[in-house]
Amino acid sequence: MKTKLLFTGFLVLYLLIIIKLFYLQIISPLKINQDLYLKSQKLNPERGKIFDRNLTPLALNQNSYLLYLEPKKINDKLKLTRFLSEKLDMEEASLEAKIDESKDWISIVSGIDEDKKKEIEGLKISGIGFESQMKRFYPEASLSAHLLGFVGKDKTGEGTGYFGVEGFYNQDLNGLPGLLESERDLAGRPIFIGVQNKVDPENGRDLVLTIDKTVQEIAKKRLSEGIEKYQAKQGCVIIADPGTMAILSLVCLPDYDLDKYFQFSEDFFRNSTVSDVYEPGSIFKPLIMAAAIEEKKIKPQDTYNETGPITVGEYKIKTWNDKYEGKISMTRILEKSSNVGMVYIGEKLGKDKIYQYLEKYGFGESTDIDLQGENSSYLKPKANWYSIDFSTVTFGQGIALTPIQMIRAFAALVNGGNLMKPYVVDKILSAKEEIIIKPKMERKVISDLTSQIIRKMLTSTVENAEAKWDRPQGYKIGGKTGTAQVPIQGHYDPSKTIASFIGFAPADKPKFITLVMLKEPKTSPWGSETAAPIFFEIAKDLIVYYSITPNQ
């Protein structure tokens, strides 16, 4: 009887439990029950790394922490604010204002490094916590600031790339976030028989640049010395492989500290080589010369009688030093950088052909270089050109272009006539695949023969130029100087110039092409006395670095 009673008792209890469970799970399921155990977490992907062409890192990720406060756990608010303001270099008052005691969690500052975290943790003040994050680390500091760009925050507080490669390849570098859904007990341990879903994040793709770290270092060092020596306001250097237009180095000074980008104004972030337009001046002359040779309007040995200034409409065009040599060859026009000689060549070539070649060289369209912030120059419609425009454009005035457009067009002159698309990313690497970026030829601008002729003329220009430079001995180097006056309020200011030099070596089969630009040098306004010496210093270093043998 007793057993039966016990059995019935148990049966009733079990029945009650089953009914309660049925009620809780089927009739009235509590939503809170799901949230209590099932934890969802966004898994952040790691941002892709950036390497130079030799796979040495230019931008990596490092551990960093977000410091947060839990106001309800703070025992001594005064001590905490005093300590944190000292450690974080923050105003005590602003820190105190941030602490809202009605909240459970307040974010204070991100980007705290490992050492500082340990230091803060060491004092064991209650109410302080850390959340693991990642931030960029630049082993070479700001060696390639304009080229790389930086990682800032977007409107939602997520990391996003701005400017340069970081901006252009932001989607590739960002990767895709993952998701973890895991049922956990009250101690945070996974419940083995519960829901355990994990979608792994896809880390950002790594980028291998065409940039060579050593070449970049050479360019930056020589440019920095040059800016100091010639007291220029700003300077830029682009070094590229003329055959492919793979950029080997791209530097502009002054630049900014990538780690502390937020302390700089937006002006510092502009990459002048792709974002700013300028009048090129005499470095433009070989482009028109090559066009005239290609169209068989002139030959290098043809002569021109340089007698004095020439008049176009109401304008008078002179040579840079107002000196005239009489009968001179086409090569000599480049050597002495004769404006009047170039006007003569322009007339031989004709207005239609001049405009046609400007378009062929890619002016008026963007180069589509893979850097954020490229500005395509504006080439006004042919109908809006006056006669004087066709004359001045032959010596690089009255046309505005970006330095990257200039070096691309000039590279076409020396590489056999191929207009190439400039690029800075060589490979995109992910766990699944490797994408190799191949050089892209846009179009053929001049023939191989014209290219050979112009290379010889430019070699002669360097060897017989008005200025004498400390050139590397035994090497054939081609190039051209340029001095462009800066247009201010409708007229040119003779005291403010953009001095430039574009050169290539070895002249027979160029390994590199380099454009050096200095904005408003004070010691001398001329490209031949400022930009050219910087170019030859860079060339000397590159000849040693690439082990180029003498050919003279």
Partner: protein, 93 residues
């Protein structure tokens, strides 16, 4: 026969109870293990990132320059030889 069935049910119940306790314990242990491995993986990843940072810094041109400065591997350190002096060096005169 009845006693046999009774004791069999008792044994089965006991067995199920032990199995239940074992399963419960195993799942908790497994959960703890997963937690431990998660922490360890995270720690190793952290260390890897730190090592990668250190390695890249030590192989950087910045570090080489800093070291060269410290070791005075600069133009200043080129030696001056005193063997072919034309004038005698007399200190304090």
């Amino acid at each position: 026969m009845r006693n046999f069935i009774k004791s069999s049910i008792g044994f089965v119940m006991l067995g199920l109870l032990v199995a239940n306790i074992f399963l419960f314990y195993s799942s908790i242990k497994l959960g703890t293990d997963i937690s431990t491995f998660e922490t360890k993986t995270q720690k190793i990843h952290h260390e890897n990132v730190n090592l990668e940072k250190e390695l890249s810094y030590l192989s950087s041109l910045q570090y080489a320059q800093k070291l060269a400065k410290q070791l005075v591997f600069t133009k200043k350190s080129s030696p001056s030889y005193l063997e072919k002096l034309i004038y005698a060096f007399v200190p304090n005169q």
